[in-house]
């Protein structure tokens, strides 16, 4: 019954004539792309290679839109991506922004993100994996499927592991439903490398490999300022210097997780700040409630050795 009757024709003005011209900047405005790119620049510190690639993708999709208006239809580009980087470098945050951006550019229909890990894809017994993976894929259609720590999908030591089955289905959908969903794999660089080495089919189907560099000390301090501003706190001048010193020490210690460590440090500083205010039990002004002092950082374990 499919195709027994032509679909109702939408109000399509038809392709533009060959000698027409299109104003690219008005097209940009219509898609409200700049808004997202600017907020990306403003709210995400550093990550220059990532931002460059996102701008390139946005430009490509924009030009494709204009080309389509001239009737120069090209195949929709493959936008499956892989994000590699150390913990706390912003992979999940960028994935959320990416979904929003692709939605505005008309590449994705709904622009939601379904975030999963191995547990959500791989089953526990024979015949369990395929329906589970397919269900997740179907839920992600129209948006982004974000697979965190994707290398866990493949366990080299156990060749009867169900992860391989899940990967096979993923590949099939990535190929056949290219305009329905974007798959983003994320993980730490070295382990993603081994994952791709054992799954060459996966590597070649992913067009964009984005590497998230570690943050520098300046960038970390800036991230801290942004986080504090968001929570309506601020650092006193001395505290700013102490916080920098704190970050410099923390960076050299084990289990440093970039922006996540910054957030944890600020959470603990807030605890000490509150504790200090309660202990002092005097009258408080608005500024006292917002200002973090060096003491809030100095009692940290980071400074004790």
């Amino acid at each position: 019954m499919n195709g027994t009757r032509p679909a109702p024709v939408p109000a399509d003005p038809g392709p533009l004539p060959d000698d027409a011209s299109v104003d690219l900047s008005s097209e940009r405005k219509r898609a409200a792309v700049d808004e997202i790119l600017d907020s990306l620049d403003r709210e995400l510190v550093g990550l220059v290679p990532v931002k460059t690639r996102i701008r390139e993708i946005a430009a490509l999709l924009l030009v494709d839109r204009v080309r389509a208006r001239f009737g120069l239809a090209a195949q929709a580009p493959s936008l499956h991506m892989c994000f590699t980087g150390n913990p706390g470098t912003g992979k999940t945050t960028v994935a959320l922004r990416m979904a929003e951006l692709l939605h505005r550019l008309g590449y994705l229909r709904s622009g939601h993100v379904v975030s999963v890990t191995r547990d959500d894809l791989v089953g526990q017994y024979v015949g369990h994996t395929a329906p589970k993976t397919k269900d997740v894929l179907k839920r992600a259609m129209g948006g982004v499927l974000f697979i965190d720590e994707a290398y866990y999908l493949y366990r080299a030591e156990n060749e009867r592991d169900y992860g391989a089955e899940s990967i096979e289905i993923l590949l099939q959908y990535m190929e056949n439903h290219r305009d329905d969903l974007v798959v983003i794999l994320a993980g730490y660089a070295d382990r993603m490398e081994t994952f791709f080495a054992s799954n060459p089919g996966m590597s070649s189907r992913i067009a964009h490999h984005l590497e998230f560099p570690d943050y520098t000390l300046d960038e970390l301090a800036e991230i801290g300022d942004l986080m504090l501003a968001g929570q309506r706190y601020r650092l006193s001048e001395e505290a700013a210097a102490v916080f920098r010193e704190y970050l410099a020490r923390r960076m050299t210690q084990p289990r440093f997780a970039n922006a996540r460590s910054v957030r944890n440090a600020l959470e603990r500083a807030r605890l000490r700040h509150a504790n200090r205010l309660v202990a002092a039990s005097g009258t408080l002004g608005k500024d006292d409630l917002m200002r973090l002092e060096p003491a809030d950082f100095l009692s940290s374990r980071v400074f004790s050795d």
Binding site: M1, T4, R5, P6, A7, K138, M141, G143, D180
Partner: protein
């Protein structure tokens, strides 16, 4: 005899694009879509076989459309219908149901 039933019984068969639009509106209402098939579409005394589970939590019709096409490929000679289930308290019933496949004449 040509059998018609469901919400759009009085209309010609929907195209895939029209089905996608109906599914989109159903998803927008928070209804869960399911696909069913049968060889015998008599309205009484007959149960339809489910094709997979109802699709709760979908945000886009592409997933349901994919299942419809899988079902068509598996049972080209059966009647296939989609139903949208409204799970809200006080309703809890099929809100929309229409045929998407009929056996070749």
């Amino acid at each position: 005899m040509r059998i018609t039933q469901g919400t759009f019984y009085y209309l010609p068969d929907l195209t895939d694009d029209e089905i996608a639009l109906q599914l989109r509106s159903a998803i927008g209402n928070g209804w869960a879509i399911s696909v069913e098939s049968t060889a015998d579409p008599r309205p009484q005394g007959n149960l339809w076989d489910m094709w997979g589970l109802p699709m709760f939590g979908h945000r886009d019709p592409a997933g349901a459309l994919h299942e419809i096409n899988e079902c068509r490929a598996a049972y080209p000679d059966r009647y296939i219908r989609v139903s949208a289930y409204d799970s809200r308290h006080g309703r809890q019933t099929t809100a929309l149901s229409f045929l998407v496949n009929r056996p070749p004449e």
